[in-house]
C-alpha cells in the first residue's frame, strides 16, 4: 500500500482506508477491453460512508480552546474516511496516459481546491459529504444546431469510458498524477453540432448556496465559470470526466461530471458541470474576473511565465520532498503546442 508522503512523513505509516479500493490490483484484463458500461448512473451513485462526527461524540480534549474543531478531527482520525464512489469497470486505455507514479487516492480526495465548499485544501472533503449529485443533467446551448440536455446516464454512455492517467498542475505550484475516467469532450461536441458562429465554449458549475454555505467566504463570485477556445475544446486531451481511480467522482473532486484539461492550470478544469454554451466571443472566466492581472483566459502551464506573486518554474508533486521542474504545457506540448503557434504566451497567459 503506498503511503506516498515523502521523507517528511516521519515514522508510522498510515492505513489507506478507502473501502473497496485496491490501488495495487486495478489494472485487470477487463480494463483493456473497449466494453461499454451497462450501468445506469443511478447504479453507480455514491453511497454515504461513515460520518466521522459520530466518532467525536463524547470526545473531550483538555485545552480544546487552543485547537479548532477541524484539528481535533485530524488528530483523532488521521486515516480520514473517504467519500468513495462506486466502481466503474470495462475501461479502455488512453494513448496519452503517463506511467508516472499515481498520487494516492487519499491525497487527491483530501487536498484540493473546490472553493464552493471552502477555501482550505481540506474543506472540500469535509463540507461536500452531503452534496446531492443525483438527479443531474448538463444543458448544452448557444451556437449549436441541436441544443439539448444530457442526463448523467446519457453522459456515462455517450462514448466508451477510458482511464486517462494525466498530470494535473495547480496554479499554486503543487501537482498530482490522477487516473481520471472519461472521454474526449469532442464526442459530445459532435452530437450537438456547433454552428459556424461558435468560436468558444463557456462552462458553468453548479452552485447552490444552501448546499455550499462556505462559498460565501471564498472571495470569488459563483457560479464558477470557465471557457475554452473551440479548437482547444476539440483537442483529444480535453476530457469530459466522470470518475477517477476506477470509481465515480467523489463529491469533493467535482462529482458527478467535470472537465479535465491536463495542460492548463487546475482551476481551468471546472467541476460539477451543469451548463455548456457555445459562443461567438471569449467568455468570462471566474479567476480572471477575480484578478485579471494574475489569471488569464488561457492559463496554460508555463514554467517561463511566473505568477506575479510566485515562480511557476518548479512544482511540488504531492508525496515528494524535493521540488521538480515544471514542464511547458505540463508535458503535453506534442498534443497542444500547435494550438498556440505564433501567440505571445507572455501576453496570453
Amino acid at each position: 500500500m503506498p503511503s506516498g508522503r515523502g521523507s517528511i512523513h516521519f515514522g508510522c505509516g498510515r492505513v489507506l482506508s478507502v473501502w473497496g479500493y485496491n490501488p495495487c490490483g486495478r489494472l485487470d484484463e477487463k480494463m483493456l477491453t473497449n466494453k461499454q458500461p451497462d450501468l445506469t448512473y443511478k447504479d453507480v451513485t455514491p453511497k454515504h460512508f461513515l460520518d466521522r462526527r459520530q466518532f467525536l461524540v463524547g470526545l473531550s480534549v483538555a485545552g480544546a480552546a487552543l485547537i479548532t474543531k477541524h484539528e481535533i478531527l485530524n488528530l483523532t482520525m488521521p486515516s480520514r474516511a473517504a467519500y468513495a464512489g462506486s466502481k466503474i469497470s470495462g475501461l479502455a486505455k488512453n494513448p496519452y496516459s503517463t506511467s508516472e507514479k499515481q498520487t494516492p487516492y487519499d491525497d487527491v480526495t483530501h487536498y484540493n481546491n473546490f472553493y464552493e465548499f471552502g477555501t482550505d485544501k481540506t474543506d472540500p472533503a469535509r463540507n461536500s459529504l452531503k452534496f446531492r449529485t443525483s438527479p443531474w443533467s448538463v444543458s448544452v446551448e448557444g451556437e449549436v444546431k441541436k441544443p439539448r440536455s444530457f442526463s448523467m446516464d446519457e453522459i456515462m454512455k455517450l462514448s466508451p469510458l477510458e482511464e486517462r492517467i494525466y498530470r494535473h498542475r495547480c496554479v499554486e505550484a503543487w501537482s498530482i498524477v490522477v487516473p481520471w475516467i472519461g472521454y474526449s469532450f469532442s464526442n459530445l461536441v459532435k452530437l450537438v453540432e456547433p454552428t459556424e458562429k461558435a468560436k468558444y465554449v463557456a462552462f458553468q458549475s453548479y452552485y447552490d448556496p444552501k448546499q455550499m454555505p462556505d462559498g460565501r467566504w471564498a472571495g470569488i463570485d459563483f457560479p464558477y465559470v470557465e471557457g475554452l477556445r473551440l479548437d482547444e475544446a476539440m483537442n483529444p486531451l480535453t476530457t469530459l470526466c466522470v470518475g477517477m481511480y476506477g470509481e465515480t467522482l467523489p463529491n469533493q473532486d467535482g462529482a458527478p461530471v467535470r472537465m479535465v484539461l491536463p495542460w492548463k492550470y487546475g482551476f481551468k478544469s471546472i467541476k460539477s458541470l451543469v451548463k455548456i454554451k457555445f459562443v461567438k466571443s471569449e467568455p468570462p472566466t471566474t479567476w480572471n474576473l477575480a484578478n485579471a492581472h494574475e489569471y488569464g483566459f488561457y492559463s496554460n502551464v508555463n514554467p517561463n511565465v511566473d505568477h506575479p506573486r510566485w515562480s511557476q518554474a518548479k512544482e511540488r508533486r504531492l508525496g515528494e520532498f524535493f521540488k521538480r521542474p515544471t514542464l511547458m504545457f505540463n508535458g503535453y506540448g506534442d498534443q497542444v503546442a500547435s494550438l498556440y503557434a505564433g501567440m505571445d504566451l507572455r501576453k496570453y497567459y
Binding site: I8, H9, G11, L75, D107, K121, W174, G219, S311
Partner: protein, 215 residues
C-alpha cells in the same frame, strides 16, 4: 489574582503552553497528520503562530492598563521571544524545505515578490528585539532608547499582516482578522499617546518601572 500572577510556576506553565503548538506539529509529523502537503502545512502553522504571538505580545500592555493587572509584564518578553522563535521556524521552513538553501533564488524572491519582501522584513525587524531583550541590554541602551528600539515590533506586526494579506488568493478573512487585531492594539497606543500629550507634567519614575509601564 496578584499572587497567582506572581507565582513563579505560572511562568513555567506559560512557557510550556507556548511550546504546545510546536509539540502538536511534531506529533502530527510522527503520526502522518500533516496532510498531503506537509511542507505547506508546516509553513502555514509556523506562520500562523508567529503572527498570533506577535498579537498576544502587543496585547499585554493594553490589557495591563485597561484591566489594572500590571503583573502581566512578567510574560511579555517571553511571549515576544516566542513570536521570534516561531518566526525562526517559519523562516527556516522557507529557506530549507521550500528553497533548499538556494540563496540566489531566495534573494530573487525577496527582491521580486512583495509578499516575501514583507515577510522577510517582519522577520529581520524582530532580530534586534530578540538580541536586546535581556536586562543587560536594557541597562546598556538606557530605558528610553531601549523603548524606542522595541517599538519596531509595531512595524514588524504590520509587515507580518501585509505579508499574510498579499499571500492569500481570495479568501481574506484570516489576514483581515489579524490585521484588525493589530490595528486595534496600535490605535489604543495612539489614543494613550494623545492623552499623555494633553497632560505633559509627569512624575519622574525610576527607569525599570518606566520600561514596565510604557511598553
Amino acid at each position: 489574582m496578584q499572587a497567582f500572577l506572581r507565582n513563579k510556576w505560572l511562568k513555567v506553565c506559560v512557557f510550556i503552553a507556548c511550546l504546545v503548538p510546536l509539540a502538536l506539529l511534531l506529533w502530527r509529523g510522527f503520526t502522518g497528520g500533516l496532510g498531503a502537503n506537509p511542507v505547506e502545512f508546516i509553513t502555514h502553522a509556523t506562520g500562523d503562530w508567529t503572527i498570533r504571538f506577535l498579537v498576544i505580545t502587543l496585547a499585554i500592555t493594553p490589557l495591563r492598563q485597561m484591566f489594572g493587572i500590571p503583573d502581566l509584564i512578567r510574560f511579555r518578553r517571553m511571549l515576544g521571544l516566542f513570536a521570534f522563535f516561531y518566526g525562526c521556524l517559519h523562516f527556516t521552513t522557507y529557506i530549507w524545505l521550500d528553497k533548499f538553501f538556494n540563496f540566489p533564488e531566495m534573494w530573487k524572491d525577496v527582491a521580486k515578490r512583495p509578499f516575501i519582501t514583507m515577510g522577510f522584513s517582519a522577520f529581520v525587524l524582530m532580530i534586534p528585539l530578540a538580541l536586546t531583550s535581556t536586562a543587560g541590554w536594557i541597562r546598556r541602551l538606557g530605558g528610553r532608547r531601549w523603548l524606542m528600539l522595541h517599538r519596531l515590533i509595531y512595524v514588524s506586526a504590520i509587515c507580518a499582516v501585509i505579508h499574510y494579506y498579499w499571500l492569500v488568493k481570495s479568501d481574506e478573512r484570516k489576514p483581515l482578522f489579524y490585521g484588525g487585531c493589530v490595528v486595534v492594539l496600535l490605535l489604543w497606543r495612539i489614543g494613550r499617546w494623545l492623552k499623555q500629550r494633553r497632560t505633559p507634567v509627569r512624575a519622574a519614575v525610576p527607569m525599570n518601572i518606566e520600561v514596565a509601564e510604557k511598553g
